[in-house]
């Protein structure tokens, strides 16, 4: 069987499965029977104190931070809600295929920090890299399962990248400003969420079934829960990641 034949079949299957607009197989609007998993990710134990970042080596970085800027490796609110954790379906989807969305995800370099600190994209989805600073950056993802690249980006220059394979998550750094760190998580399916300031997340449009849900954080590791959701069910779960002194 020739490769062309296989790819023709695959393209046919994908085209039939995905609705234009790049939504999951169920279609762009949530199916009436779709389930929702939501909740919070909390951190337990002593969270290491954020430290002030010394940006003095590049004076073009500091105008964005008149009061100085603190590290954002582990950010938790007053009730231990953990920001910038990723919650995603790690098992239970079988080998379902999903087309990447047409619209691009964005990661911005502003005041010599990455916004957001964690960005989640789909495999082969365009990730726009924006340099809003007046200084030159380089964006250097160090993946295990995708292509490593390292591009210089002067102020305002357009740049975008894609990642072909799932990887949670790719550490990203700027070698010019060594305090700049972020993560790019790449998913082959649309069932993931990055937690907000209060540690909350919501994964919607999930077909009923049994799943393993994983919560991931760049510094605090991962934890999993197995759940089963029925038709139109909304399930609330809570994850706890342990912070250890010095982590």
């Amino acid at each position: 069987m020739s490769m062309r034949f296989v790819s023709t079949i695959l393209t046919g299957v994908l085209a039939a499965g995905a609705v234009s607009g790049g939504a999951p197989r169920a279609g762009s609007a949530p199916a009436p029977s779709a389930a929702v998993v939501k909740g919070t990710v909390k951190v337990q134990g002593a969270v290491p104190k954020a430290t002030r970042i010394d940006m003095s080596q590049d004076p073009k970085c500091s105008p964005g931070h008149p009061g100085g800027v603190m590290t954002d490796d582990i950010v938790a609110d007053g009730s231990s809600g953990l920001e910038d954790a990723i919650v995603y379906v790690s098992q239970g989807l079988g080998d379902a295929k999903f087309e990447p969305p047409k619209e691009a995800a964005v990661i911005e370099q502003k005041g010599c920090m990455y916004k957001p600190h964690v960005v989640a994209v789909r495999a082969n989805q365009e990730l726009k890299v924006v340099n809003s600073d007046t200084t030159t950056h380089n964006i250097h993802p160090a993946p295990n399962n995708n292509r490593e690249s390292n591009q210089t980006q002067p102020p305002g220059a357009p740049l975008s990248m894609t990642f072909a394979r799932e990887e949670i998550a790719i550490p990203v750094k700027c070698n010019i400003h060594p305090w700049m760190h972020s993560y790019i998580a790449v998913f082959k399916h649309p069932y993931f969420a990055v937690t907000g300031k209060d540690g909350s997340f919501e994964i919607g449009n999930l077909p009923p079934g049994s799943y393993t849900i994983t919560a991931w954080h760049g510094k605090l590791g991962t934890t999993i829960q197995k759940i089963t959701v029925g038709e139109s069910e909304t399930k609330t779960i809570e994850f706890v990641l342990k912070a250890q002194a010095g982590s």
Binding site: T136, N138, N150, H177
Partner: protein, 264 residues
């Protein structure tokens, strides 16, 4: 008797078909040379295995004692490329690296091997990563003819050295002592230092004007040195090359041209 013959023929035919399919994926093409992974394997096991290891992952028995570490071919990430950052190198890029060696590392020049043997090694090195079967190398960088080196050009290069933040690793005077020099790691997490551009040392991927232009534009993948192909125009890249050459030259004469920072 007859059926046996037919089935034997079938087996032979299938084997031929299969070997021709696999060997096509494991060939290299450098100019008129065609390298073959099968011959390359024998050479690899004789010359390369001690550092790069039997599985090509850079964990040969000498590897623990080496700095920088031998290349991990399973990642298909190569420093010396004429293709864009993140893409596969050309066969000729790998051939050139094997021939030239990598300065400031344990990788020697393999010019003592015949050209055919080096081409065979390229084919075998490619067989360690399936990426060479799945993807094509990126488009080769076009290197326009070098404009004449002038004080004007070098001076503009010095300005770019400042505005492109080259100094943050390479140092304001190109001595490899920028504020970030001690924070740098390669993609395996091992410490790596930027070269002292004033020392007159050899560059990793060759010293010619064209090699410097290429390395600046495509970056050295696996190291902190980024690609500038989307950041500077070819003429500006030549200005940078000319500036770096003045650092080299002046190191020999014992004088140093300092990059004059603008603004600030």
């Amino acid at each position: 008797m007859r059926t046996k013959n037919i089935s034997t023929n079938c087996v032979v035919l299938l084997a031929l078909l299969f070997s021709s399919v696999t060997s096509f994926a494991q060939q290299s093409h450098i100019g008129k040379l065609t390298g073959n992974a099968k011959q390359g394997k024998a050479l690899y096991r004789r010359y390369c295995i001690f550092c790069h290891g039997p599985y090509g992952d850079g964990t040969g028995e000498n590897a623990p004692y080496m700095d920088p570490k031998p290349r991990d071919f399973t990642k298909a990430t190569f420093k010396c490329r004429s293709t864009p950052s993140g893409s596969l190198p050309l066969d000729s890029d790998l051939y050139d690296t094997i021939s030239r060696g990598v300065h400031s590392s344990g990788m020697p020049s393999w010019r003592p091997l015949t050209r055919q043997q080096r081409a065979d090694l390229v084919a075998y090195v490619k067989s360690f990563s399936s990426r060479f079967e799945e993807e094509k190398p990126g488009a080769a960088l076009e290197i326009p003819p070098a404009p004449p080196n002038s004080a004007e050009s070098a001076k503009h290069g010095a300005e770019l050295f400042e505005s492109m933040n080259c100094w943050s690793c390479h140092g304001k005077e190109g001595r490899g002592n920028g504020p970030n020099a001690r924070t740098l790691t390669d993609s395996k997490g091992y410490p790596i230092v930027p070269p002292d551009l004033t020392s007159g040392m050899h560059f990793k991927c060759g010293d010619s004007d064209q090699a410097m232009f290429r390395d600046l534009m495509t970056g050295l993948d696996g190291t902190p040195m980024p690609s500038f192909s989307d950041a500077v125009k070819p003429a500006e890249a030549w200005d940078l090359v000319h500036y770096v050459e003045t650092l080299h030259l002046n190191a020999k004469k014992g004088i140093l041209v300092k990059a004059e920072p603008k603004g600030e």
